[in-house]
């Protein structure tokens, strides 16, 4: 995802001299290095100084540029939080804040590097749009949108590297603010965002082997939330599962529950979010998700498959 993002921004930067990348001491891998070499003036590394990364982005946006702040999610959003709130959101400036390694992607680095609550926190900010693509293809579409938008600040939550393609079977193109089916069935619907949707495909295989059909709905834009599409999914499936790599409080799960309640959805609804705790565990990304109670087995059990 990070390479696709960098490649997309590099291409967008070729035709838009207003596009500036501001990083806080994150190694510019792959295409980001290309951007840095080709447009050295438009690549700024503030060093380990995230507050001025955001402050500078605000200043540049106030003077007509299109800055992108880019670093590891915890340091992109949490460390300079009040600068994002005041400088970007309060002034409603078109700055994209990119958080790399959302959720527990950095599974061996400990909770200082886990952005477990980033989506919830970002969604709480007035004026902020929040996007979390599930794969490189959605990342490309989202990055292209971010590079051109004039709506205001955006938090773009990405994974890291090596995420599989999940959206090649989507029936609709990616559109900001519009949830889309990556797979369409009639019985079960798994909805969520981010690379964790890989699990949805694994579970869908099991659902289908058990003789039921399964939809997968990518809710890539968390704010503004596509409530109508979610309500439609709740109304047209008998069983709905929300899958997210974020704490429950303020996450997608509770928002889907609220929509289900207000619209009187007839389906069964279960939600999978990160636990409300810091886990002191290391291992693969899958290991960390399992420690948070999110696994193919756990979801299958909830669907009565195991």
């Amino acid at each position: 995802m990070r390479n696709t993002f960098a490649e997309t921004i590099y291409e967008a930067g070729k035709s838009d001299p207003r596009l500036v990348v501001v990083v806080a001491d994150i190694s510019p891998a792959g295409a980001m290095q290309k951007f840095r070499c080709e447009f050295p003036g438009r690549f700024v590394n503030t060093g380990v100084a995230e507050q001025v990364m955001i402050g500078m982005c605000a200043g540049m946006a106030l003077r007509g540029l299109r800055p992108i702040a880019y670093t590891i999610a915890t340091f992109a959003l949490f460390r300079p939080f009040e600068f994002i709130r005041d400088d970007l959101c309060y002034q409603n400036l078109p700055v994209t804040v990119v958080g790399i390694g959302g959720g527990v992607t950095y599974s061996t680095l400990g909770a200082t590097h886990h952005a477990m609550e980033d989506v919830a926190v970002a969604c709480a900010l007035p004026h902020m749009s929040v996007i979390a693509p599930c794969d490189p293809s959605e990342t490309q579409a989202a990055a292209n949108w971010c590079a051109r938008q004039t709506r205001g600040p955006v938090y773009l939550r990405l994974g890291k590297a090596g995420e599989p393609d999940l959206s090649s079977g989507a029936t609709e193109p990616w559109e900001f603010g519009k949830a889309r089916y990556l797979k369409k069935g009639r019985d079960v619907c798994i909805l969520g965002y981010g690379p964790i949707l890989k699990l949805a495909f694994d579970v869908a295989d099991r659902v289908e082997k058990a003789g039921r059909s399964c939809s997968i709905l990518s809710v890539h834009t968390l704010k503004p939330l596509d409530e109508n599409r979610i309500a439609e999914a709740l109304a047209t499936h008998t069983e709905v599962v929300v899958l997210e790599e974020c704490v429950a409080h303020g996450g997608l799960g509770v928002q889907v529950q609220a929509i289900a309640w207000s619209r009187g959805a007839p389906c069964r609804l279960s939600t999978f979010s990160l636990k409300d705790t810091f886990i002191h565990q290391y291992g693969s990304h899958t290991d960390l998700l399992a420690a948070h109670g999110i696994s193919e087995h756990a979801i299958s059990t909830a669907l009565g498959l195991d």
Partner: protein, 273 residues
Amino acid sequence: MDFDVTRARERCLAYRRRILDMSQRVTAMHIAPAFSCLEMIDVIYHGYMRRSPVAGGEPFADSFVLSKGHGCISQYVILEDLEVLSRKELDAYCTVQGHLGAHPDYGVPGIEASTGSLGHGLGIAVGMAYAEKLKQTDRRVFALISDGELQEGSTWEGVLMASNLKLDNLVLFVDLNDYTAMDRLSVEHPATYPVDEKFRAFGWEATQVNGHDAGALVASVDSRSGKTPFVVIGQTVKGKGVAFMEGVPIWHYRSPSKEEYLLATQDLRQVTA
């Protein structure tokens, strides 16, 4: 640069009077912090901020960020004098009919950044100055911070980046009145001093002058080499211009009562330095 110091003193006396008049409509307005940086903001606007040649767009061809947002009443009265803000707008200060609050808000004519939370303005100014470099314009960026903002780590992040990026189009004013809301810096936070040497250590050109002396302020800014970011540290008095407010902490925030207002207006004199 031609700068009429006598005229500046007359203006600042009128501004202080206007601020005192406005103080009677609100209970809190940060009057003393506004008085300490008044001469510096006057010098920035009347000495350096060029008017935009294009009517109807941005009012100025240079930028000014008041990082010390709680001093914005001084900015408002000057913008009124420059006819960027109207008398009607100032008369509706802090009321539901108006749009001027006790901290500056981006979108208000002449206000280029929303500040109020301390330690934000310099980073924004650094981004602005860098944007002008990228766009290859001659627009300069002026910023003013309080001495309390020297306690914010983010200020020093901005100080470092301004120097790293060689932002010779950035001029910073520090309102060194030695008081924060609670304490005297020289007593509770003596490590704040010396201020100028800290900036020099980070690659800035720095001078320190009497911050109420418009002539000295202009002379120091005019004498900058223009090769690095430049800071003028203005030694000031909180509440300057009204004897009973000078250096008295309560005036950081409170508005004068009717009696105090009358006393203040009688006491008001031109600040000569």
